[in-house]
């Protein structure tokens, strides 16, 4: 089953998206912030099929995670979806500039998220 790393500091959102993904049969690793996400990435040797990340988080934000993954020698191809309540043009452009594959603005639609996840995993 595809393995997804989901990085989100807001507990309710984390819980909901986690359950949505688990229900679809994905294996989900949840990180509460950028620092924890980096630890999980390193511990698991970047062995994820997809990363879903928020932007505004404590310690290191979603943009930093994005650029760290994209600058990694072997893991730079992992598809990344950014989900954020910061939906202004600058944030969206910055995310794509740093290598995001998709951008979803909060509030999200569960169905839409799943379609985007499936599409990126099928690539």
């Amino acid at each position: 089953m595809p393995k997804i790393l989901y990085i989100e500091d807001e507990l309710l959102m984390q819980n909901i998206v986690n359950k949505i993904l688990l229900r679809e049969g994905y294996t989900v690793d949840v990180a509460n912030n950028g620092k924890e996400a980096m630890e999980k990435l390193i511990t698991n040797n970047y062995d994820y099929n997809l990363v879903i990340t928020d932007i505004m988080m404590p310690y290191s934000n979603g943009f930093e995670i994005l650029s760290k993954i994209r600058n990694h020698i072997t893991a730079n191809k992992i598809p990344i979806i950014v989900i954020s309540s910061v939906g202004n043009e600058d944030a969206i452009l910055e995310a794509f500039k740093l290598g995001a594959d998709d951008f979803l603005k909060k509030p999200i639609m569960a169905g839409e998220l799943l379609i985007r996840v499936k599409r990126l995993l099928a690539r």
């Binding site: 309710l12 959102m13 909901i16 949505i20 229900r23 509030p107 999200i108 639609m109 569960a110 169905g111």
Partner: protein
């Protein structure tokens, strides 16, 4: 001698000593006793409040997972609700029984449900957000929110406004409009926020009734609400520029005219150039400059000499923004001969902004400028310096 008689005799001895003590000592004793009592009451109330907070947190820790589970089961993961509604299609009925059972019958349970539904709705849009709102209405939680609106306490009203706004519940103008003019700044701000979000047709109608000045902070907050609220109908703000008796509303509308580039509002803004209030005049000039309305340039030059300093500065800035290149000589004259430093600096900045039209003038000024003028020019030519 038993304990009670001993206590009585020592109490009466103390009272007797207090009675015969000098006045200053009596006052001191009174204040000491009063302070001890006040400290005891304060500490007790802090402890009680903390205990209540702790107790509430514990209760929420127990009830929130229950609510989450029910919402996930009956709404988010309910396949029957999980498809978009076609035109004219009736929404599915949400199974309510579980939400009406024991922990949710109490006021506390209902409030926890409201808070959790609002939180869920912040995370979802589309059909899920629709059914979460439906759940709020079906459980008659909206009545609870509307009841809070009737409270005399301002903080309860604020909570009600937040809840009703989050759930997109329309509130009658007669209830909300007076609150947009409230003396309490928190309530006023939340009511305006709610009015803009909830009133689909005329979200700015409260501009008509605002009598209190819009403070700068109010303006910043309103600007953020207006520019970030989706699906809001934007009116022609020139309406308030023409008719509003409230100076701060006019100023704010001028900023909104610029933000939404409402060129149709220009005639109303030009009329403001004849107002007696120099601050409004300066704001109007600023607005015209930002709209880059070049036809007003001759009028600005015509009135320049009779204006106070703030309006003159705005005229110089406006000419720089318009960049027609027609007033380079005027700017040059002001830069070389004005006695005020700010005027010279703004004239120089507008010359620099003139771009191709001003190349010759800039070159000439750089060659012939005095030491101070050269410094001003170099300061204005530095793209890293904004002010």
């Amino acid at each position: 001698m038993d304990f009670s008689s001993l206590f009585n005799s020592s109490t009466s001895q103390l009272l007797q000593e207090f009675y015969y003590a000098p006045l200053i000592i009596k006052i001191a004793i009174f204040f000491i006793c009063f302070s001890i009592l006040a400290i005891l009451i304060t500490y007790t109330s802090i402890l009680v409040k903390r205990y209540q907070g702790y107790h509430l947190e514990k209760k929420l820790e127990r009830i929130n997972p229950l609510i989450d589970e029910l919402i996930l089961k009956h709404i988010i993961f309910n396949d029957a609700l999980n498809k978009e509604l076609e035109d004219g299609e009736q929404p599915q009925l949400i199974p309510l029984t579980d939400f009406q059972k024991s922990p949710f019958k109490s006021d506390f349970g209902k409030q926890a449900l409201i808070d959790r539904i609002i939180n869920f709705r912040k995370s979802f849009k589309g059909i899920m957000a629709f059914y979460l709102r439906q759940l709020y209405i079906d459980l008659e939680l909206d009545k609870k929110s509307f009841n809070k609106m009737k409270s005399v306490k301002w903080d309860k009203k604020v909570v009600a406004l937040v809840e009703l706004t989050a759930m997109d519940m329309s509130i009658a103008d007669v209830n909300i409009l007076p609150l947009t003019n409230s003396k309490n700044s928190e309530l006023r701000s939340e009511a305006r926020h709610a009015y803009i979000k909830l009133s689909k047709n005329e979200p700015f109608k409260f501009f008509d009734v605002v009598t209190e000045p819009l403070l700068m902070w109010d303006q910043i907050q309103l600007f953020k609400i207006i520019t970030t609220t989706e699906e809001i109908s934007i009116p022609n703000f020139a309406r308030w520029v023409t008719y509003s008796p409230n100076k701060s509303i006019i100023s704010f509308c001028l900023k909104l005219i610029v933000h939404y580039n409402q060129v149709e509002g220009i005639p109303a803004v030009i009329k403001l150039l004849d107002t007696k209030d120099h601050e409004l005049r300066a704001n109007a000039i600023n607005c015209l400059g930002k709209l880059k309305y070049d036809e007003v340039e001759p009028k600005l030059l015509e009135i320049y000499a009779n204006q106070p300093l703030n309006c003159q500065i705005e005229i110089l800035k406006a000419i720089g923004r318009i960049r027609s290149g027609k007033s380079i000589d005027f700017l040059k004259y002001e830069f070389l001969h004005s006695s005020d430093f700010d005027l010279r600096k703004n004239a120089a900045r507008s010359i620099i902004k003139g771009g191709a039209h001003a190349q010759e003038t800039i070159k000439l000024l750089l060659e012939t400028a005095t030491k101070e003028n050269l410094l001003i020019l170099k300061h204005c030519m530095n793209p890293l310096i904004k002010f």
